[in-house]
């Protein structure tokens, strides 16, 4: 019988099935960070349980960490306590920790793939919704709550209802200046923030096949913004080339590749939903509202609430425009910005930094704009510095920072002030996400860099 990629991985991980109950599935990799794990470790302690497989569990601190001088102590005592708690929990439970001094430190969804922890055909979980990122490798990867973190620590399994499947076929040649970020924002704009609810999305089609691993991660990363349980892309030579030689990649790599090559949806595999998208006319995307589906093309205008026939969408748009301080029908390119954030598990990888550097090289950020570049990991930071990207950024007036989640959710000191408007390469434009009262516009790395220079949004297709 024809099976989808998701079904193949799901079946291989079934530990127990019983009618009327969720299935018990096995978890191959458990990634842990400081914000969603303390209560889980505490739960283990209270019930006298151990971590069943410490060797499959990997931790780092990323959400709270400052991105400025690391030789200084962390100023916020509550952040410091949460970070120290992760360190002591990892020591107590024998979990490997990539701390701030580790050469492998970084955002959990950046370092998993970098280390070769994320592999095709594996199940990967983390107490973080952007775990969907790892699906770019043909893994089944999804975010879980803290109770489930404790459950995986104790049992290496999860109770899960089998999700539905959704195949999104993306075809067409992207215009120069249209990045993976624009493709996924375009998809979310089409299917809404709940369009993927209850589903695992598999992305395919010639556009997806032509993407680099870093671009595939950007696509899968934002699957959760469409409400999906997970996003995944069947592995191919792009995947295998990326993984070869990574620290935790299998030692018998060729044998692994032979197995991974079978990880694709069979012809005739059925899906609960399907969608075809042509990206040949897609423009760079800019969000105008307070959820990622409130998005439009850079050459368009801010919509009018009355453009939406659905009452919920209309109410949502009214509220969003009010929060964002935007008038309907304003051309997107006329929106001035105060801040630029280039970073996050969506767009902080070397290719993103290169795209941004190419645009700001020899130019300078607008005098009204503060711009920060936060690489996704220490490894990316080093690679970028080797290429001289850090100098391009600093000479152009952008700040070059240490790795972490930073202003994607502003749990660390990097945040917007009320009313400040930011062009951000992150994944969520929710109210207050980047700081109470802050206004976030989600864009690609190239678009963020161009906006930094111009002081407002610009269509980078005109400049490349």
């Amino acid at each position: 019988m024809s099976k989808s990629l998701f079904e193949k991985i799901w079946e291989k991980h079934l530990v127990h099935e019983e009618a009327g109950k969720p299935s018990l599935i096995y978890i191959d990799r458990h990634l842990v960070h400081e914000v969603t794990s303390a209560q889980a470790f505490e739960g283990l302690r209270l019930s006298g349980r151990k971590v069943r497989h410490p060797e499959l569990t990997f931790a780092t601190m990323d959400h709270n960490v400052p991105t400025t001088d690391r030789s200084q102590p962390i100023q916020d005592p509550i952040s410091a306590k949460q970070i120290d708690t992760l360190t002591s929990n990892c020591t107590e439970f024998d979990v490997r920790l990539f701390d701030l001094n580790s050469p492998h430190h970084g955002i959990v969804h950046v370092i998993g793939p970098e280390l070769g922890l994320t592999l095709p055909g594996l199940t990967v979980v983390c107490g973080d919704s952007h775990t969907s990122t790892h699906g770019a490798f043909g893994a089944l990867a999804f975010g879980i709550g803290t109770s489930e973190v404790e459950h995986v620590l104790a049992t290496q399994c999860l109770q899960q209802d089998k999700p539905k499947t959704f195949f999104i076929e993306v075809n067409g040649h992207r215009a120069s200046g249209v990045e993976a970020k624009d493709v996924i924002l375009g998809i979310i704009g089409k299917i809404s923030t709940s369009g993927g609810s209850g589903h695992v999305i598999e992305y395919g089609g010639n556009t997806i096949r032509a993407l680099s691993m870093e671009e595939r991660m950007t696509i899968c990363n934002m699957s959760i913004e469409a409400g999906a349980r997970a996003g995944m892309i069947a592995p191919d030579s792009t995947t295998f080339d990326y993984l070869r030689g990574r620290p935790y990649a299998p030692s018998d790599f060729d044998a692994a590749v032979a197995q991974w090559e079978k990880l694709r949806s069979d012809p005739g595999a059925t899906f609960d939903q399907r969608l075809e998208i042509d990206v040949s006319t897609l423009a760079p995307q800019v969000t105008w509202g307070t959820n990622p589906s409130q998005v439009t093309s850079v050459d368009a205008r801010v919509p009018k609430p009355s453009d939406f026939s659905d009452e919920n969408a209309r109410k949502s748009a009214e509220r969003a425009l009010d929060y964002m301080g935007l008038a309907a029908e304003t051309p997107i390119e006329d929106i001035p910005i105060d801040y630029v954030f280039i970073g996050s598990c969506t767009n902080s990888r070397l290719s993103d930094l290169r795209a941004a550097a190419e645009i700001v090289k020899g130019k300078h950020v607008a005098s009204s704009v503060t711009a920060i570049v936060v690489p996704g990991s220490f490894e990316i930071k080093q690679a970028a510095e080797k290429e001289g990207l850090d100098r391009i950024f600093t000479e152009a007036g952008l700040e070059w920072r240490e790795a972490g989640c930073s202003m994607c959710l502003a749990m660390n000191p990097d945040s917007l002030k009320p009313g400040q408007r930011c062009a951000s390469t992150s994944n969520r434009n929710f109210e207050g996400r980047q700081g109470a009262g802050g206004r976030t516009h989600l864009v690609s790395a190239g678009m963020a860099a161009a906006a930094a220079v111009a002081g407002h949004f610009v269509d980078i297709r005109q400049h490349i």
């Binding site: 018990l24 916020d76 709550g145 923030t193 709940s194």
Partner: protein, 203 residues
């Protein structure tokens, strides 16, 4: 986890779709390392004004809703991040039941792990509830999870369907981890057989 069997409580309203977990509990309050004490920060940026006073324009703040334990809201409640701090803050504030046309997946799941019952009703049923709650001060609903019925004293009644397994877990306040560990033989067998055939699974 505290069991959930029956509840009779005051109903309050949040008339917005797509309420994300960043609104339920903003990130600056995620730094605590306990499960408790989050209620004071629930809907923080909406409940409080910039000078930290109760925002009179936020419907939930009205006196008539004081002591509410049931929240009725709009579609796709709890979208966004996986933070379990969202149900922790709702529970700590006093909510045991949340009624909406739909919920985001991770949030929905997290509710059951914390003794909160999330209930899906149709858009029209939700709209009629909004109407009734606004019409009558201290409007209360009775929720009977055993019988899967929600009703009001003035005769509103909704049949609800809760996944049978989750319903049992809530009714008995069962510990998920203990349930899974009862399958130790299955887990060990899987680790010794299927797992060894998956490239790269073991480290």
């Amino acid at each position: 986890m505290e069991a959930f069997t029956q509840l009779k409580g005051i109903v309050t309203l949040l008339d917005l779709p797509d309420v994300d977990t960043d609104q339920i509990i903003p990130k600056q309050f995620l730094k605590r390392i306990e499960r408790t004490g989050f209620g004071q920060f629930l809907f923080y940026d909406w409940r409080f004004t910039e000078d930290k006073k109760l925002n009179p324009d936020f419907e939930m703040n009205r006196e008539r809703y004081k002591g509410a334990s049931v929240l009725v809201t709009r579609a796709n409640f709890g979208c966004g991040s996986s933070r379990e701090h969202a149900p922790w803050s709702l529970l700590d504030y006093g909510f045991r039941c949340i009624i909406a046309p739909s919920f985001a997946d991770i949030f929905y799941n997290n509710c059951f792990k914390n003794g909160i019952l999330p209930v899906r009703l149709s858009e029209s049923e939700i709209s009629s509830l909004f109407e009734q709650v606004r019409k009558k001060e201290q409007f209360q609903l009775s929720i009977d999870l055993e019988k899967e019925v929600i009703s009001s004293d003035d005769g509103m009644a909704f049949q609800i369907t809760v996944d049978p397994f989750r319903r049992q877990c809530l009714l008995k306040g069962l510990d998920d981890i203990a349930l899974t560990l009862a399958h130790e033989d299955d887990i060990s067998r899987y680790e010794a057989t299927t797992r060894t055939s998956i490239a790269g699974a073991a480290l």
